[in-house]
């Protein structure tokens, strides 16, 4: 196999796939990227057996063929190459000669046949989503995924296709983020699936604001076809907990907040939240919120935020990081915070179908 390619194109192609390659792997082939030269493009594929990504880049193919090369090493070499023209020539023993300007590299690969093929999706259920919708939906939910491996059903985002809606949910037991996307699909395609964290991270990297993504759901696996790139992943087996149980049905007080102002105030005050209790307090009074943090033997911080509020005076404490995470992920100017009392969860909402439930922390008086 022999081809020439520009440095920028190859680098871009490698960047899309190289994150899947894990550094610590038991199978050497999994740290390699599969290169397939056909027609006028190179297909690049990586997999860790759970998640696989396939991308491509334009190239002048002189001789078609396929091989696998160490992904990290290839990426590091290509990044450092001096000239923008790169020629790669792979011999029958999978040794690749890379020439660019005055540089020459030879790296040893493994045969293409050893590379595990990506799963096939025959008679899978296919749903098409606008990339922009999915990208924003994941951005608003993925930070709430649990990292606790003992609760493995929570180590991913729930994709619930139901009633012409796609509901994305992530929770770690203390907070829950949910987004709904209007979508049309046949009733037979209704399903609840859990997409693991790694696939979500990679997917977010690949999604753009244009075009559509074709989602194919097979048994135990899912594929996201983004036209130029393809991501396949195993699904987390098991039932996602009934998240609706978490969402409070009523709300007593509602305040409208400017997202950035609120976030900046929280960020400043949280500088004095102690590592141990790690909580900040929101003290509500007429048309005002005092955000306070105090750590014994360190100091305290307080910031006042004028708001429209006519309810009763009360205080509620939250983990600042958990309160700031959705505010960072959202793009809207205004957010609404619904509260019941100091011991009940708070709910963050925006104008579009999004919801974030956050458990308060106990206030030690």
């Amino acid at each position: 196999m022999k081809f020439s390619v520009t440095k920028e194109k190859l680098l871009e192609g490698l960047q899309q796939v190289q994150n899947v390659v894990s550094t610590r792997t038991t199978l050497p082939i999994l740290s390699n990227v599969l290169l397939q030269a056909n027609g006028n493009e190179i297909h690049l594929t990586t997999t860790d057996l759970d998640v696989g990504v396939r991308g491509s880049c334009e190239a002048d193919v002189e001789k078609e063929g396929a091989t696998t090369l160490p992904a990290r090493r290839l990426f590091n070499i290509v990044r450092e190459l001096p000239s923008s023209e790169i020629q790669i020539d792979v011999d029958g023993k999978n040794a690749a000669s890379i020439r660019s300007g005055q540089s020459f590299f030879k790296i040893l690969g493994l045969p293409e046949e050893e590379f595990p093929p990506l799963p096939k999706f025959e008679d899978a259920k296919v749903v098409t989503i606008r990339q922009k919708d999915l990208r924003h939906g994941l951005r608003k939910t993925s930070y709430a995924i649990s990292t606790d491996e003992t609760r493995y059903v929570l180590n991913g985002v729930l994709f619930s296709f139901k009633d012409n809606k796609l509901t994305l949910v992530a929770t770690d037991g203390r907070r829950l983020a949910m987004v709904e996307i209007e979508l049309e699909f046949p009733r037979s395609h209704e399903a609840d699936i859990i997409v693991p964290t790694k696939a979500i991270t990679e997917l977010q990297r690949l999604l753009t604001d244009d075009g559509e993504v074709k989602v194919s759901m097979g048994s135990g696996q899912i594929a996201f076809d983004l036209n130029k790139t393809l991501l396949v992943s195993k699904l987390i087996e098991g039932n996602y907990p009934n998240y609706r149980q978490v969402i409070p049905t009523e709300s007593k007080e509602r305040v409208k907040l400017e997202r950035e102002t609120f976030l900046n105030a929280l960020r400043r005050v949280s500088l004095l939240a102690s590592d141990k209790s790690n909580s900040i307090k929101l003290n509500f009074s007429k048309n005002n919120i005092d955000i306070t943090a105090n750590t014994p033997e360190v100091g305290e911080a307080k910031e006042s935020l004028p708001v429209q509020y006519k309810g009763r005076d009360f205080s509620i404490a939250f983990n600042p990081e958990f309160l700031m995470a959705p505010l960072r992920a959202l793009a809207e100017d205004e957010v609404f915070l619904d509260l019941i009392d100091e011991m009940s969860p708070g709910v963050l909402k925006i104008q579009t179908p999004f919801l974030y439930v956050l458990m308060p922390m106990r206030i030690s008086s």
Binding site: R151, G173, K234, Q245, I340, D341, M359
Partner: protein, 453 residues
């Protein structure tokens, strides 16, 4: 709900209500049932896993407070979902496995090697003799009823006497009986490495969870923990968590716990808590039995004299015994020659020599060298260094280096607390003079061979 438990739950609920909001109570606790209560734990049945997740994450403190208020002392809280098993139902677990493993048919075999256990190391393949009776019986008892009888089980003995074999046999026995038991087998070195790795990548929590979930923890070669203070502390907590959770722990070591250098006392006392079983080198009958069993499983036919010879000459190490058997058998099948004693002796020259060498101590060397050069034994360790004493001392150091496994430091210590550099210098010097002067080479090789005899 049992009437007694219903009453207990009433009391708990009463203690819980003031601590959390009414809405939270109704939402999370109104559907909870108390299904079992012992002195140590309470089991709550929840409608589905979101209850467990949410209660564990948010209401555990409140619940524990309520338990203390209602019952007077804390209890562990367990959860059961409607089917009666905690968390996920086993059906889902099975389907998860099927999805993940590429060939479900080979699942059992694959998993055994996933555990890091050698399928050959079972109780059936272990040859019992008077040297290892107790250890074997204790291991079998532990395997049959983990965490009931001897916890922890501490097995110690020299190299190649079957420590690893016994530990792996326990692991496989337990695992074969119940596939849901989480068996972890690893060497303490791996434990240390993973611990260091966890510190580096700051995922200690994950590390802890991994080990503290085990139902049966088998740690091989625990002596490597010696001198690693932070690893010891981490292991101490893991040990306590598992022990308090009534999980079986089995440890192996090449020496008794109290003799591990630089091991904290609290660990030593914990290791000695359960049962300590020693593996001794096998006697000749046992060695013969091992050889016969091994020959049968490897399907080799050797004359009884050959086995007798091997068993009588290789005394200290079973691994070496098996290696020798293998070598003799392959020689016989490859060359087709008659196996006479001379042939075998030649074939196993290095092993037999090594075997003889095993018993040489630094003290013997010192005595022999002192005798040969006609100096006092005390001069070997004294600070005096006229040439007439210094050179024999250096020769003794050189021989100690060549013939024993002692480190430079240990040799230095044995020679009156000398520095390792001194020993190194002595070795180099003697080596050089051996190449330069024939008579010195002869003298030293004479002492060497007289020691080996």
């Amino acid at each position: 709900m049992d009437k007694k438990y219903a009453q207990l739950w009433q009391r708990l609920a009463a203690a819980l209500k003031p601590q959390i909001s009414t809405d939270s109570f109704n939402r999370w606790f109104s559907a909870v049932e108390l299904v079992e209560a012992t002195d140590k734990s309470l089991t709550l049945r929840v409608p589905n896993n979101i209850y467990q997740f949410w209660i564990e994450s948010n209401y555990m403190t409140a619940l524990q407070n309520a338990i203390v208020t209602a019952l007077g002392s804390p209890r562990a809280v367990k959860f059961a979902s409607p089917s009666g098993t905690a968390g996920q139902t086993p059906l889902e677990d099975l389907s998860a496995l099927k999805g993940i493993s590429p060939e479900p048919s080979s699942g059992a075999k694959a998993s055994a090697s996933v555990l890091g256990l050698n399928p050959r190391n079972t109780f059936e393949s272990f040859v019992v003799g008077p040297n290892n009776e107790i250890a074997h019986a204790a291991a079998l008892a532990v395997a049959q009823a983990p965490a009931r009888t001897y916890n922890p089980l501490f097995i110690y003995g020299g190299v190649g006497l079957g420590k690893t074999h016994l530990m792996q046999a326990i692991g496989q026995y337990v695992w074969a009986k119940n596939k849901n038991v989480k068996v972890m087998y690893l060497s303490s070195e791996l434990f240390i490495n993973e611990f260091i790795d966890a510190i580096q990548h700051s995922n200690l929590v994950k590390f802890r969870k991994r080990y503290r979930q085990a139902d049966l923890l088998l740690i091989d070669d625990i002596q490597f923990l010696g001198g690693k203070e932070r690893s010891q502390e981490e292991f101490f907590h893991t040990f306590n968590t598992l022990f308090d959770g009534h999980k079986q722990i089995v440890l192996s070591c090449d020496r008794p716990a109290s003799e591990i250098a630089n091991l904290e006392h609290r660990l030593v006392s914990r290791f000695e808590w359960g049962l300590t079983a020693e593996l001794q080198p096998p006697d000749i009958e046992t060695r013969l039995a091992i050889l016969r069993k091994k020959a049968r499983t490897m399907q080799i036919k050797l004359r009884d004299e050959v086995l007798q010879f091997l068993a009588s000459r290789i005394r200290t190490n079973i691994r070496r015994l098996e290696g020798a058997l293998m070598r003799v058998a392959s020689f016989a099948s490859l060359s087709g020659k008659e196996l006479t004693q001379e042939v075998i002796e030649h074939l196993l020259k290095d092993i037999l020599q090594e075997e003889g060498r095993h018993s040489i101590t630094i003290e013997q060397i010192q005595r022999r060298v002192a005798e040969h050069f006609d100096v006092r034994l005390a001069d070997m360790t004294s600070k005096r260094r006229p040439a007439s004493i210094a050179f024999p001392r250096q020769v003794a150091m050189y021989l100690a280096r060549e013939l024993t496994k002692a480190s430079l430091n240990e040799i230095g210590d044995a020679f009156g607390g000398r520095d390792h550099g001194t020993v190194l210098h002595a070795c180099k010097l003697v080596k050089r003079r051996m190449t330069e002067q024939d008579n010195i080479r002869q003298t030293i090789s004479f002492i060497d061979s007289s020691l080996q005899r």
